[in-house]
Structure formats: structure tokens, C-alpha cells
């Protein structure tokens, strides 16, 4: 039996880390992740996290020291966002092909320029093709639970991939909620033995050349490269099985069931659906409730796991509705739409029947996505049932909103 605390998402993540008993943590502060870096440091100072703290000179080294530690056998954690994540990018996209089970929070933040230190998901969305598993949380409790589950997912023998547990900057990073802290021993039992570098190691007792050069115009190089790439793709697909299994076990042990890949909210009997990701989902659910009271047959699909992309799970719900409105908190340049919308479009291609899909973008630069906004999303998507589909992305917090 654990205890109940009141904390924000950054502290919840830090508690998740403490319960997962990492060997090494490295953090470098950046808004809105800074307090997470502080919690981690304080927890180490207080002996709550019994890990070595690597207080390094920047995000680039943050991930680099963890890679070295992980290759030596350490369970590791870090957190970043925004420009810090951009600065980390060089070691970042090397972590998955090295198959290092590092867990990292992205406290999502919008991109600069124009200068902006507020929430948004531009950072996490921009790195979605680096090969990390990406999970987006809706509540502080989900943050804590998912950080712990992330280790079990990352260290699964069939996966061995790094995991990003993302929570929205400003909203979840600073928003305080009631959070249940599980028991340390129960978490130990759930996670079991750590499983880190059996496959790749920097160890004089097992000398190996880690990551030799491949390629060249001919020979075995490109084929070897493809073998590695396919291995990583396979691991991602395996995660689509493992993530639900880990969530199920978590629910059974701790009594809290989180939707692993996607969550369906009032989809039964829905004619159309809206798609959300991250903390906006709460307002979305309220709006769906209101709309249902007014007789609108609308439901909500929350995307929890964005990489690997839960194609089959999504197709099975999308096949039940006749229109879908997707709300993004970031943009995909060149598409004039959001990345989640793009991915939903791709998923829809797998359905037998094409249905109208609408793109909404809101919550950039820390802006609120309110219930009112969602009412507009629902109303607009509802009209699509009658063939009224906007020709363009609908911007929820655009200049016309501020008239």
C-alpha cells in the first residue's frame, strides 16, 4: 500500500524515477523541465534516489554520459525538452539503433523562434522519427505510472529501445494533482531484475567493437545496415504487444488501468470522433460529455502511444465512425497541418471506406485549449457528416480568436 501525495507532473516524474531505482541520472535544466531536474537532484541529495548524479554541462553530454553508463550496464534516466532536446539531438538519434533502454521525460515545449518558453508539443513531435518510443501522458498520475512502466517496456528483451515519457510543459509540469505513490517493494517486484546491456557492452570481460562502421558502395555493409534498421523496426512492432501487456500487469498490481496505446472515450454509438493527445484530453472529454448531453453522437480517441504508431488499434475504432477531427499541439511544416493529423490520415488509408478528417491546431506557445475550443472542434467535425469540410486547418488560438 503506497501513499497519497499532491504534486505536479515534474515531481510525479521524479517520484517515478525514484521508484524505478536507476543507477545513474543526468539532468540539465531547461524550462519547463527545470523543476524536474531540481527534484531529481534533490532526491539524489536526500538519498531518495540512490543513483549517481551526473551534473554535466549540457544536454548533449546528458545523453552521452547515460549512453556510456548504459553500455556499461546502468539503468538510467534523464529529462529534457525544447532547445535542450534539439541540442541533445546528436546522441539522441543514436540511442535507439544502439538499442539502449534509456528512459527520458520530455516536458513538451513549443519551438522557437519566435522566442517561446511555453508548452506545446513541437519538440517531441519533431523527433518522432529518431526511433524512440513516445508515450504522451494526460495526468500527473499517468506520468508517474508511465515512467515506471517505461523501464519495463524499454528493457524488454524483444524491444531494447529508449522510451520518451512525454508530458505537457506548463499544464502537467506545473499543474498540481492528487497522486498515488506506489510502494517501493511492489514496484521492485513489478520491474524485476534490470535487463540492460546483455546485447551490447563496453566491458573488458566481453571485448567487442561497439558500432563499427558499415556501408560503402557494395559488399556486406549496406545489407548489415538494413539488418539493423529492420531489427529496430521489428522492436517497435513488438512494443505494440509489450506496451499493453505491461499496462495490464500494472493495472492488476496497482489497480490503476491506463490505456496503453489509445484510449476510447464514449466511442460506443458515436457517429464521429475527435482525436487528442496529452493533457488537452481532459478538456476534450468534458466537451464530449457536454455535446453528448446535447444529443451529439461524438466520442474521443486519446493517443497515448505515438511511437510505435498504434495503427491496428486506431483502425478498429476509426472504422466505427463517419468523420474524425484531429487536434494537434504542434505543426508539420509543409503540410499546413499537424503531425497527429497526418498520421491519422495515413491510418485512414488502411480502412475500407474513406471518411472525412479535419485538422485543428491549438495550444501553441502555452495557449489554453479550453472546453469551448473543443465544442468548436466537435461542432465543426459534426458538420463534416453533412459534407461541410473546411478546406484548411482550423487554428484554435489564431488571431481571429483574439478579435
Amino acid at each position: 500500500m503506497g501513499k497519497i501525495i499532491v504534486c505536479d507532473g515534474n515531481e510525479a516524474a521524479a517520484w517515478g524515477v525514484a521508484l524505478a531505482r536507476p543507477d545513474m541520472v543526468a539532468v540539465y535544466p531547461i524550462t519547463p523541465q527545470s523543476s524536474l531536474a531540481e527534484y531529481i537532484s534533490q532526491f539524489v541529495a536526500d538519498g531518495i534516489i540512490k543513483a549517481d548524479l551526473m551534473d554535466v554541462e549540457g544536454e548533449h553530454s546528458v545523453l552521452s554520459v547515460l549512453q556510456g553508463a548504459c553500455l556499461a550496464g546502468a539503468r538510467t534516466f534523464t529529462a529534457s525538452c525544447g532547445q535542450g532536446l534539439a541540442f541533445m539531438f546528436e546522441p539522441y538519434f543514436r540511442t535507439p539503433p544502439l538499442r539502449l533502454p534509456i528512459v527520458m521525460s520530455i516536458v513538451t515545449r513549443d519551438g522557437i523562434t519566435p522566442q517561446c518558453v511555453w508548452g506545446g508539443q513541437q519538440d517531441a513531435m519533431t523527433v518522432r522519427e529518431a526511433g524512440w518510443i513516445h508515450m504522451f501522458c494526460e495526468t500527473c498520475q499517468e506520468v508517474l505510472d508511465t515512467v515506471i512502466m517505461a523501464y519495463k517496456i524499454a528493457e524488454d528483451r524483444g524491444i531494447m529501445l529508449p522510451v520518451n515519457v512525454n508530458h505537457d510543459g506548463n499544464y502537467l509540469s506545473y499543474g498540481v494533482e492528487r497522486v498515488e505513490l506506489p510502494d517501493h517493494e511492489e514496484v521492485d517486484a513489478f520491474l524485476g531484475e534490470k535487463n540492460i546491456n546483455w546485447h551490447v557492452a563496453l566491458d573488458p570481460e566481453r571485448p567487442m567493437g561497439v558500432d563499427p562502421l558499415t556501408g560503402g558502395a557494395g559488399g556486406e555493409g549496406p545489407a548489415l545496415f538494413v539488418r539493423y534498421r529492420k531489427g529496430l523496426c521489428k522492436a517497435m512492432q513488438n512494443a505494440l504487444e509489450v506496451i499493453p501487456a505491461v499496462h495490464r500487469e500494472w493495472g492488476e498490481r496497482f489497480g490503476r488501468f491506463h490505456a496503453p496505446l489509445i484510449e476510447e472515450y464514449r466511442i460506443d454509438g458515436a457517429e464521429y470522433a475527435i482525436v487528442t493527445i496529452g493533457s488537452m484530453t481532459g478538456a476534450g472529454k468534458d466537451a464530449v460529455d457536454l455535446a453528448r448531453e446535447k444529443g451529439e453522437r461524438v466520442g474521443l480517441i486519446k493517443i497515448k502511444t505515438f511511437r510505435p504508431f498504434p495503427l491496428a488499434a486506431l483502425c478498429s475504432v476509426l472504422s466505427k465512425v463517419k468523420a474524425v477531427g484531429v487536434v494537434d499541439r504542434s505543426v508539420s511544416f509543409g503540410w499546413n497541418a499537424g503531425p497527429v493529423f497526418q498520421e491519422i490520415l495515413s491510418a485512414l488509408y488502411h480502412l475500407e471506406k474513406r471518411i472525412p478528417a479535419l485538422s485543428f491546431i491549438g495550444g501553441l506557445a502555452g495557449a489554453d485549449i479550453t472546453v469551448d475550443h473543443f465544442m468548436r472542434v466537435i461542432e465543426t467535425t459534426g458538420k463534416a457528416l453533412k459534407g461541410e469540410v473546411p478546406s484548411d486547418t482550423v487554428w484554435l488560438n489564431g488571431p481571429e480568436e483574439n478579435r
Binding site: M54, V65, A72, G73, E90, D203, M208
Partner: protein, 456 residues
């Protein structure tokens, strides 16, 4: 003696406490008195008489004393290798005493002539007298044999250029450090010659990895910290090029040094990005041609001096910092020894001057000569810094350097230099020595730690 090399008396300053036994033994053997004035080996002191080391004859292979003696009184005995002094021929000019870099031939006030080590007929009294093992009789071949016995951890047949210094360095470094090591070779020549391997194969028998060009020190730090945590003593060794050390990798190196991460970081400085087409780096010297500091009608090579990386590392409070050159392999091995010890406490940094026949445009056979000339002109001073003393010590002091042109003229990348550029390089070289010398002194009030700027 053929094949074994001549003998010399090696001196280990660390073991010497200035007890004077050797001096007394030498005087006794040669003059029947223990008076220091009769000794051919000297205990040296600073102005205030504090002990600083021992001056003795090394029986040089190319003895400068003999080369300078106008009377032909000094000559190297081809049989024994001993540099002999012929009292009959000596005219007492004392020129020889001025040219010996070791202070090994000295004026004898009692006789008014010079005196020098005669090796006591093969069993030097000083060596026998020393109770601390600071003096040792050695053959030139001893060192080679000692290293030769160590395991070669690099496979034969790696793909280095002809005359590559990096290969020499890689093999010798791993020989000394041994297999209980994690080797990091960021993109650069060491990785390029195949250290980390291609298509699943590797060229070294130790764990090796290819970090990013930017994060060598960080990755090693992470691995070492974890090994410390689980109580395993594993040496972390970086062999990075100058680009990955002085340029993009400098941030992680600086951070690791600041945190005192335990590793040996060796910068293989071939003064440019050599395996990608000879582009300039932060350590490319002034005036050098590279493919990105070309020579044309407007530009004439690099316009700025090299980043003083070893000194920057001294300022980072590294446990140990040294410069080295493979033309002085014994010196390098001694420094590796110290680096291994230092890396148990914090960062040990060795900056190895690494001439590159391919990129610098000189014949591969001239590799060692290039290194030697660089040192003899003071372009590459050999020194070490130990945190515990807080001072820099020259390990091969060159008080009477050759003109820089003697080195520059060997190297194709300097072929275009005009007189003005050569003059500037001479000045830069002298200024850098002055700066280094300031670090060799003890901090005292009114001390001459003032740097004598060139041209001032």
C-alpha cells in the same frame, strides 16, 4: 655490443631525494675524496640551494660536447659507447660545458680542467651507491624489449597510410595500458585506420567504440562512473583527433575535466581533419596549408595560431597533463605511466604531436625526423603538469633550440611560407616557451613569472 645498444645511466627524478650518495661515490672513486668538487655527477639546486634534480652524462649517441670540442678531446668510443675525454688534447676552453643539455660535463675547480663521466670502466660507482634506485644502468635496447614483451592489442594489417603516426601511437598506447580498458576512438584517423572496425569486425582486442565526434569524454565518463559504482576498476581511454578534441568535442572534454572524470584522454594532434581531406582544425598552426586554409594570391595558409589545448587542460585542474611526441618514445611511455596513475583520481590528458606524412606533404620516412625537429626547435615543447605540484616541468628542455625553419622546411604544408611568416612563427614559438616557463616557477612575490612578450 652489436644489437644490444650502448649503455647509459638513466635517472628517475621521482625516486631521488638528493641524498648526495652518488656524488660522494663518484668523487671517492675518481679522487679518493668525498668532496663534491671531484664528482662528475652533480646534485642541482635553485638559487636558494633547494634540491631540484641530478645532472649527469647520458653518453649521448650524438654528443654535442664532442661535436663542439675544438681540440678533439672528446669522442664517443665505438666499442663501449662511452664519451671519453682525453686530458692530453683538452685545451681547457670549456666549450663542451656550454653545449651539454644535461649539465653532464663540468668544470673542475680543483684541476682547472673539465671532467666527465667515464662510466667507471663499466660499473658506475654512482649507480651502485644509490640506495633508492634513482640511477639505473640501461641499454638502449632494454626499453624496446620491455615494450616488446607487452601484448600487442591491435591486429596486424590495419588500414593506415604509409608512415602513419597514429598507428604507431595506437599500438604503443594499448601495449602499455593493457586489456582492462574501454577505448573510445571518435571519428578521425584512429577510427579511420580501422581501430573500431568495419562491417562487424574490429581491429583491437579491447572493448572499443566509436563515439560521436562531439561526446567522447562524456561517454567515457558515464561508463567509468558506473564501473566505479559497481566496484570495478576499468581504465577509460580516449584516442581522439584534434578536431574531436579541440573543436566540436571540446565542450564535453571541458565538462568532464571540470568534474574530474577518471579517464586518460589522449589527443592525437595531426593538426587538421586528416582522414576527411586535410581540412583545418583548431590546432592547425599559423601559416599551414590545409584544404580549407589554402594558399593563393590572397590567402597564404592559416591566419591564426593553434588553440593551446594542453595549457587549457592545465587550467582545467586536470590531475595530469603532458605533451608528447613519438620521436621521444621513452618520454611518452613515462608519461603514460603517470597518466594511468592520475586517471585513478581524475582526468589525465596527453597531447601527442602527430605528424602526418599524407596531409602534411612529407615523405613517410621522415616521420620521426619531423617529430624530433619539432621538439628541437621548440615548436613542440615536451612537458608535463602534475596537479600535486601545480607546476609545469619540461621533460626534454631545449634551451638552445634550432631555428624553426629547420623543422618547417621538412614539411610540405609550410613550403609556401615567406620570410615574414617564418619570422612570426619563430616569435610565436619563443613566446609560447616564455608562457610555459612562467608555469614552471614557484609563485613568489616579485617573481619573474611575468611573461616576456615577444616584440615587447
Amino acid at each position: 655490443m652489436t644489437g644490444n645498444g650502448y649503455r647509459t645511466i638513466a635517472f628517475y627524478p621521482d625516486r631521488c631525494d638528493g641524498c648526495n650518495l652518488c656524488v660522494e661515490a663518484c668523487a671517492e672513486h675518481h679522487a679518493g675524496s668525498k668532496e663534491a668538487v671531484h664528482s662528475r655527477i652533480r646534485v642541482c639546486g635553485d638559487e636558494e640551494g633547494r634540491y631540484t634534480g641530478i645532472a649527469l652524462c647520458r653518453q649521448c649517441s650524438m654528443p654535442r660536447c664532442a661535436m663542439n670540442c675544438p681540440a678533439g678531446a672528446l669522442s664517443k668510443d665505438p666499442e663501449t659507447g662511452v664519451v671519453c675525454w682525453d686530458e692530453e688534447k683538452c685545451v681547457g676552453c670549456l666549450l663542451c660545458t656550454l653545449t651539454c643539455p644535461y649539465g653532464g660535463i663540468v668544470f673542475n675547480a680543483a684541476s682547472g680542467r673539465v671532467m666527465k663521466c667515464d662510466f667507471c670502466g663499466g660499473r658506475p660507482a654512482c649507480v651502485e651507491a644509490c640506495t633508492r634506485g634513482a640511477l639505473e644502468l640501461k641499454r638502449g635496447a632494454d626499453l624496446y624489449n620491455a615494450w616488446g614483451d607487452l601484448e600487442d592489442l591491435v591486429v596486424p594489417g590495419i588500414s593506415a597510410c604509409l608512415g602513419c603516426n597514429s598507428e604507431l601511437l595506437l599500438r604503443h598506447t594499448l601495449r602499455r595500458i593493457g586489456p582492462n580498458v574501454v577505448l573510445a576512438t571518435p571519428p578521425g584517423c584512429i577510427a579511420g585506420v580501422g581501430a573500431v572496425g568495419v562491417n562487424g569486425k574490429t581491429a583491437v582486442k579491447t572493448p572499443v567504440f566509436h563515439p560521436l565526434l562531439t561526446n567522447t569524454a562524456s561517454m567515457l565518463a558515464g561508463a567509468r562512473r558506473y564501473y566505479n559504482r559497481i566496484g570495478r576498476d576499468v581504465t577509460m581511454l580516449a584516442l581522439g583527433g584534434d578536431g574531436g578534441t579541440a573543436d566540436v568535442g571540446f565542450q564535453s572534454l571541458s565538462g568532464a575535466a571540470e568534474r574530474g572524470e577518471q579517464m586518460i584522454y589522449i589527443c592525437v594532434d595531426n593538426e587538421g581533419y586528416m582522414n576527411t581531406g586535410v581540412q583545418r582544425s583548431g590546432t592547425t598552426p599559423f601559416g599551414a596549408w590545409t584544404s580549407t586554409t589554402p594558399v593563393g594570391s590572397v590567402l597564404r595558409g592559416k591566419t591564426r595560431e593553434a588553440k593551446p589545448l594542453p595549457l587549457l587542460m592545465v587550467m582545467h585542474n586536470c590531475e595530469y597533463v603532458a605533451t608528447a611526441c613519438t620521436a621521444f618514445m621513452e618520454d611518452y611511455y613515462e608519461k603514460l605511466e603517470k597518466a594511468i596513475e592520475a586517471s585513478k583520481k581524475g582526468m589525465a590528458y596527453i597531447h601527442v604531436f602527430s605528424p602526418c606524412p599524407t596531409g602534411w606533404r612529407f615523405p613517410p620516412g621522415k616521420l620521426i625526423e619531423a617529430g624530433r625537429k619539432a621538439v628541437q626547435t621548440n615548436i613542440v615543447p615536451l612537458w608535463e603538469f602534475e596537479l600535486k605540484t601545480g607546476r609545469i616541468r619540461f621533460t626534454y628542455p631545449v634551451d638552445d633550440p634550432l631555428p624553426v625553419q629547420e623543422y618547417l622546411s621538412l614539411i610540405g604544408k609550410f613550403r609556401h611560407l615567406d620570410e615574414e611568416q617564418i619570422r612570426l612563427i619563430q616569435e610565436q614559438t619563443e613566446r609560447k616557451i616564455q608562457i610555459l616557463k612562467a608555469f614552471t616557477k614557484e609563485g613568489r612575490d616579485g617573481d619573474e613569472t611575468r611573461v616576456e612578450g615577444v616584440g615587447s
